[in-house]
């Protein structure tokens, strides 16, 4: 038993060196994966920031369109169809409203315009 202990003791010690080295390699791999995930997460939050900008742009366009539409409706309500000046003003606001509706928010690549 003593002889067994004499062989096994150092063997366990050496085996623990191997095991530690292997565990260290695995720990490094885990650290690398965690690191990549942290970077991915940060990039996703950055993308969320960019999406907020797109939403703000959409809100701006929506608000502008609704206000111009409201002014057009008001103008129609106070205009007389027979008056040339009134017809011109209505047409002018209507054309502007049409142009507003055609404003692009994103380009073909999905970037904010």
């Amino acid at each position: 038993m003593v002889l067994g202990g004499l062989v096994v003791g150092p063997a366990i010690l050496v085996a623990s060196f191997f095991a530690h080295a292997k565990a260290g390699d695995i720990e490094n791999k885990v650290e690398r994966h965690i690191s990549e995930m942290d970077i991915d997460e940060a990039n996703k939050w950055k993308l969320v920031g960019a999406l907020d900008a797109v939403l703000a742009r959409v809100a701006e366009l929506k608000e502008t369109t609704l206000k111009v539409q409201s002014e057009l409706e008001h103008l129609l309500s106070i205009s007389t169809p027979d008056t040339e000046e009134d017809a011109y003003m209505v047409a002018k606001v209507a054309v502007s409203l049409g142009q507003l509706l055609e404003v692009a928010i994103l380009d073909k690549e999905g970037k904010i315009v």
Partner: protein, 140 residues
């Protein structure tokens, strides 16, 4: 009486170490153990350094991305606030123009509104980012 666990443990160690391990166990001597220990310490130290390098590189990358995100948010916040203020002024003019049926004022207001809305909010982003990186204050 149960057998003592040590011989089994020895067998298991040899088994797990495989062929190389058997060789190590058969030829074990104290000097070898010390050499293995020193080698282990060196490997452990290198692995620790590598982990610290990975973590430091990650921290730098994350900080950089967060900083870029902050720039984007700051820029758009200021940009959209400025546009909103300008649009509000033009809508006041448009409303007055419609009320008074002032054609000229209406043209001015509509032209201004369309100009702002068609103008890209990203237009000055690069100069803003550059100025911020140089710690300069820039009016957008």
């Amino acid at each position: 009486m149960p057998k003592p666990p040590i011989p089994n443990a020895g067998f298991n160690v040899v088994k797990h170490l495989g062929a190389g391990g058997k060789y190590v166990v058969q030829n074990l001597n104290p000097l070898e153990v010390v050499r293995e220990y020193v080698s282990f310490l060196k490997t452990a130290s290198e692995q620790k350094s590598e982990r610290e390098r990975i973590a430091a590189k990650r921290d730098v990358a994350v900080k950089l991305i967060e900083s870029e995100k902050e720039i984007i948010l700051e820029y758009f916040k200021a940009r959209f606030a400025e546009r909103k203020e300008a649009l509000q002024g033009l809508f006041d003019i448009l409303h007055q123009a419609v009320e008074t049926k002032n054609e000229h004022a209406m043209d001015t207001a509509l032209g201004g509104i369309l100009g702002i809305v068609k103008d890209s909010p990203l237009k000055d982003f690069d100069s803003f980012r550059k100025a911020r990186a140089d710690n300069k204050i820039l009016e957008i």
